[in-house]
Symmetry: C3
Subunit: 277 residues, 3 copies
Amino acid sequence: MAIITLLTDFGTTDEYVGVMKGVILSFNPLATIVDITHHINPQNIIQAAYTLQAAYPFFPKGSVHVAVVDPGVGSDRSILALKKQGHIFLAPNNGVLTLLMQNDTVDELFSIENDAFFLKNDLNTISNTFHGRDIFSPVAAHLSMGLALSKLGPPAETQDVIRASLPQPFINENNNLIGTIIAIDHFGNLITDIDAACLRHFYSCDANNRLEISIGNHKINGLADSYADIAPQTALTLINSRDHLEIAINGGNAAICLSAQKGDHVILSIKSKGELS
Amino acid sequence: MAIITLLTDFGTTDEYVGVMKGVILSFNPLATIVDITHHINPQNIIQAAYTLQAAYPFFPKGSVHVAVVDPGVGSDRSILALKKQGHIFLAPNNGVLTLLMQNDTVDELFSIENDAFFLKNDLNTISNTFHGRDIFSPVAAHLSMGLALSKLGPPAETQDVIRASLPQPFINENNNLIGTIIAIDHFGNLITDIDAACLRHFYSCDANNRLEISIGNHKINGLADSYADIAPQTALTLINSRDHLEIAINGGNAAICLSAQKGDHVILSIKSKGELS
Amino acid sequence: MAIITLLTDFGTTDEYVGVMKGVILSFNPLATIVDITHHINPQNIIQAAYTLQAAYPFFPKGSVHVAVVDPGVGSDRSILALKKQGHIFLAPNNGVLTLLMQNDTVDELFSIENDAFFLKNDLNTISNTFHGRDIFSPVAAHLSMGLALSKLGPPAETQDVIRASLPQPFINENNNLIGTIIAIDHFGNLITDIDAACLRHFYSCDANNRLEISIGNHKINGLADSYADIAPQTALTLINSRDHLEIAINGGNAAICLSAQKGDHVILSIKSKGELS
């Protein structure tokens, strides 16, 4: 089994993704290549970090995950190979790996510098604009065939891995839990940075209390079990498949209906039954 | 051979489709996964039904076709496994299978309930929001490895399969054949619900008669053999690759040029040669 | 190894691409199918020609490249099978192969006419609207299994291959090199028809001279090594991964920022150090 996943901001209109696959297959004709997405907003490192984190656990251990959102391509930013939880990750050292560095435990971490595993052109050089083709793809192919990470270059230290600044839920002076919309999906669902563990810490279901979620001028009472749990075209909150708090509209687009954007806050408060609005 | 096709309304910007593929490959690393489309309009069951019907016959028998357009995910709607004409279909019981139920003949039909074949999380539960990941993908993988449909749950009856209400061509009081635009493709071609058999029933080519097709204020005379059969930028009608009557513009976009939308009627009438407009 | 690449203007919303893959896998279940792109602008033969040229060299020799941008489908335009540099190409004879015909050297060239390798329907006919499904896919599958091109039909002559009229860089009366924007990629980078060899012929780096690139009212001095070589949000010029002169904005979208479009001219001039604007 040799699975290589691709996550980029290259879009699918140009030949760039196809070329990466051609290079991979040139080195490992038996690789199984899976697209996570190529529609990360151009150079949006944080979106790439969240998407990678949401996707990789569902692939078999041993998979090689290639994340190329790389505004610094051709500069002196390094490229990292990370092994963690049986998965291998290749990414520029620019924040894409942030969520994988939580608690700083990694199995292996190397800086990719050994050009013996790069794709070179007739002049024996690599491009300064398309490392996805010239470095990430051939290195991923070699790793998928069992190359040890240690062959790629010198070890790197976890403290040298660049971390993106990500929002974190917090408790405000009114004892409300404040979260942030970190992603809006294809359906317009609003995904927050509040995960299920964080929510349980703040609120446990109780006969006398109930959760109220506010976003802009809209208030939602309680947690739904599923989208269809609530009347059509009604706003609801649930714990989604990423295990995060999500605001949605049953059969509708919450981003449009609630005029919500990435970065907006959501406010969670606990109301006694009498107080509920 | 283990082919699994995917047809969803998930889009390709989020990680959802990649995650489904990761789950499939976790169970069956040798599966060949083919995207039919992930750009069904959100929750558009009828578009999904037409697209599935147009695609599946061109795959090898034994293929497993997974159609996840599923506004009722997490509710008590059932999920069906259907075997017909050597193909296997997995879909929520919400109308996506409508066109496969015509004449009510199926080889096998089961309700998917046996969670031994589901993907469970650390709490041994499945999500209420992403059955594509937690039910459809692992079940498809198992079927692609030869699991009998009967292992998935109890038999279902064909009369319990929910049918979407689809337009049907009809003859009006003036003996015109009235069709409906059921799809507009990427090129802006207008695909109607009139298939070749229906058209032949209404009209057979004759030296003294000719077919006139009206859409809005536009009239088209006769059937073309191909797009290039007619002068550039001219409207034409032909029997398309789905074997349906289609209105197109040679080198242009009929939906834009003719201001046509899904659901619009087309009117077919037979004119004697003298009458032709 | 049996790699088949697909390059079309079919989009990914309809079932068309999935159907092509179903047909290919029906004939060759072991084919590895790679999408180059399906987002060529409808019927844009020149864009297809550039994209094919940019992609194919990165695939293993023996790959079969299928390019279906085919406004003349169903007309008497021929379909060609071309072998060159160890790669096989299938395309309508409408200009898509233009860049592969430079210097007129091909290894093999045949007109695809032998319907023994086509996909036929119940009436033993093929469609006039979807040769991607009925001719290109089954023929590609057969070629990927080792079928000789000569089995497909009679030899064709290179002079019969239709060439699209492509812009060529030229020197104007002021001794400036005039190029044309031939593509705008997903990032808004402006790709010109000036390749590295052409540029070297016009200008060699010199301590006393410097290159000035003009586009519209904007002037850029010198060549950058990479996007990140220049201050953020600043325009730059570099030789890109296609080995062509490209105008970009570090971290931005040059097409938008510079109001540039395909077909616009760029003007290269050599300034002595004193003259530099």
